[in-house]
């Protein structure tokens, strides 16, 4: 029983990473209605920007906001420069452009900062929390930041005019345009916010997994899984889903003999698929009804 509790706690700690990423995934899904395959690489690139700023001697709390602003602008630029011209292209073309972005960002980061593994500082320190070896101060801080972000996003989407416009632009672009929402700029704003949240995720994750151009690939998978599990339409669901994926992954690795250790990731994903078969809109998502 104690082992179970410990494993769940450890799962929540890793789940915080996935929750952070899932939140960024859902953000961009809300804005553009697609899953962004380049999300992980965008976060990685932002983290490298923070790393470079600190290398130039800026203190952490100066580098952090600058990175967020740069990432926000970068996200807006990606939308305006890359995606606006192909707005009417089929979905699969968009997917291919996501893949292209992924390749470009990954290769450029590798070219500028090379592929060696770098350590990244944590604002919370890496001491164990309350003397427990299962969860460190950094991981606790990460959970805190994720929850704080969630609350901020909730308030933004629920109570601000611009948040409402963004939701309208994503849900029904044609009608939103008719009532005066500038749909194009709402998309760009969504991209910018997703890039900034991705930057926060990257900066929080880097002290745990270390910084290198390929650090995000497997994390993005878990982030997707968490987002879909929780419901792509619900930021809170995404965070919950991220934590659940972390817990399931840890429990499968511990309690399922032989296969569990080797197939940790697939088992987590298969469980999620099983959930989806029974509840396709995710745990907290809205069911979209199709009109004939």
């Amino acid at each position: 029983m104690e082992l179970l509790g410990q494993q769940i706690l450890a799962g929540i700690a890793t789940g915080a990473i996935y929750a952070c990423m899932a939140l960024a995934v859902v953000m961009i899904y809300q804005a553009i209605d697609h899953l962004n395959f380049a999300q992980g690489e965008m976060a990685m690139f932002s983290t490298f920007i923070a790393y470079q700023l600190m290398l130039w001697g800026l203190p952490y709390w100066v580098a952090f906001p600058i990175t967020l602003i740069v990432s926000f602008i970068g996200g807006v630029l990606i939308d305006r420069v890359v995606f606006k011209p192909i707005h009417d292209a089929p979905i699969l073309s968009h997917v291919v452009v996501f893949i292209a972005l992924l390749a470009i960002l990954n290769s450029t980061a590798g070219f500028i900062w090379d592929f060696t593994v770098k350590s990244f500082p944590s604002p919370f320190g890496s001491a164990p929390l309350f003397g427990s070896s299962l969860i460190s101060a950094h991981q606790a801080g990460m959970i805190g930041v994720t929850l704080l972000l969630l609350v901020l996003l909730f308030v933004f989407f629920r109570y601000t005019r611009i948040g409402l416009s963004m939701r309208a632009a994503a849900a029904n672009p044609a009608s939103a345009r008719l009532v005066g929402v500038r749909v194009g700029w709402m998309n760009a704003l969504g991209w910018g916010m997703a890039a900034a949240i991705g930057a926060i995720a990257g900066i929080l994750i880097a002290p745990v997994v270390f910084l290198e151009p390929n650090m995000m690939i497997s994390i993005l998978l878990y982030g997707f899984a968490g987002a879909v599990l929780g419901g792509l339409t619900s930021p809170a669901g995404a965070v919950l889903g991220g934590f659940l994926v972390g817990i399931v992954e840890n429990l499968a690795g511990t309690f399922i003999p032989v296969i569990g250790g080797e197939l940790k990731l697939p088992i987590a994903l298969m469980l999620i698929v099983a959930v989806l078969v029974f509840k396709p809109s995710g745990l907290m998502g809205r069911t979209v009804v199709q009109r004939v």
Binding site: I86, V96, T108, L269
Partner: protein, 342 residues
């Protein structure tokens, strides 16, 4: 009126002008189609005689990718289902061929139908639960299949069959006795023959009653169901058929590379198929060959432009391509054809 029209169909274009009845545009379309088919065949048949062995091997590889993309096109282009998991079926086909040849010394020719049948069953069974999932959720389910594949192939209980991380090395087949070709040339022609056969089957499938049912499901599932199309059956069959094509491609790939190992069948392979599909044109079967060529050659070109930034160059080529031809080679060819017509 039908009789003269029919006779002029077979006669040359110059005296066809006399009977200006109806199918002029259609006839010219037909001519263009036949000219391009024959050109393709002549070029394809000439390749092994013109190039060195390694280049012939590369073209064989291109045909293999084209077959896999053809399979994916049947699923995505004609049935509207999205898959990121086709590397799993490719791997299944490749391992079927390799295990049959390595452990039971079966002739390479017989591994193809076996790989096809096994992959069809696997695809059909995977398609059944996946039916309930749509769009992005199906993408996630197939995505996890692609992620799981290399790890399942490495599993220790299966090591006796799969050779674990090391994989399986197989022997390159010789051409049949009396055929004056070397191994690479023979495998090229063999792959070409299989590819053409599969292409013709796919084309007939798409034009059949079942093909129309598949497209009806793609365009409007609810309407298709009310017209009496069995959604569950057809979607699963589409998945199975698509897996069959990809599995045969996998078996061919194993035979020509003479080696299978878990890490050749990652998500990257699935993504390559998807890129090939979009580059060739979704829902246009001949596009597969363009897709195959892109998947095989463009990464090399990108590497040639810049070693360190090859990924970035590849990405930029991809983005430019989507800008210039958002519907892939299919749209490009259609645009050229409509120019020719007017």
């Amino acid at each position: 009126m039908a009789a003269p029209a029919e006779t002029t169909l077979s006669s040359s274009a110059s005296d066809a002008v006399a009977s200006v009845e109806m199918p002029r545009a259609a006839r010219r379309d037909g001519t263009i189609a036949w000219v391009s088919r024959i050109t393709f065949l002549v070029v394809a048949l000439a390749i092994p005689l013109l190039f060195k062995n390694f280049v012939v091997f590369q073209f064989t590889q291109m045909l293999v990718y084209a077959i896999a993309i053809l399979g994916l096109n049947l699923l995505t282009g004609f049935n509207g289902q999205f898959s990121l998991g086709h590397s799993a079926f490719y791997a299944l086909g490749a391992y079927t061929a390799a295990i049959m040849m390595d452990q039971y010394s079966v002739s390479y020719i017989w591994t193809l139908p076996a790989a096809g049948v096994i992959c069809f069953v696997a695809g059909f069974l995977f398609g059944l639960p996946a039916l309930r999932l749509e769009g992005i959720y199906l993408a996630l389910a197939t995505f996890s299949l692609a992620i799981a594949t290399p790890q399942i192939l490495k599993l220790s209980p299966l090591e006796h069959w799969t050779g674990g991380v090391q994989g399986i090395v197989i022997i390159k087949p010789d051409p049949p006795p009396g055929v004056p070709l070397n191994q690479d040339q023979w495998l090229y022609y063999f792959t070409l023959a299989v590819g053409l056969l599969l292409y013709i089957l796919a084309r007939n499938l798409v034009k059949s009653r079942s093909g129309r049912a598949l497209m009806a499901i793609r365009d409007n599932p609810i309407a298709a169901r009310s017209m009496g199309v069995n959604l569950a059956l057809y979607k699963s069959l589409a998945f199975g058929t698509s897996a069959l094509y990809t599995g045969i491609a996998g078996a061919l790939g194993a035979i020509i590379i003479q080696f299978v190992a878990p890490d050749s069948f990652t998500l990257v392979l699935s993504i390559a198929f998807l890129v090939g599909l979009v580059v060739g044109g979704v829902g246009w079967l001949p596009g597969a060959i363009f897709g195959g060529a892109f998947v095989l050659f463009v990464p090399n070109i990108a590497e040639g432009v810049s070693k360190g930034l090859s990924g970035a160059v590849y990405g930029i080529i991809l983005i430019l391509l989507i800008y210039l031809m958002p519907t892939g080679a299919a749209g490009f060819v259609r645009a050229v054809l409509s120019r020719l017509k007017s």
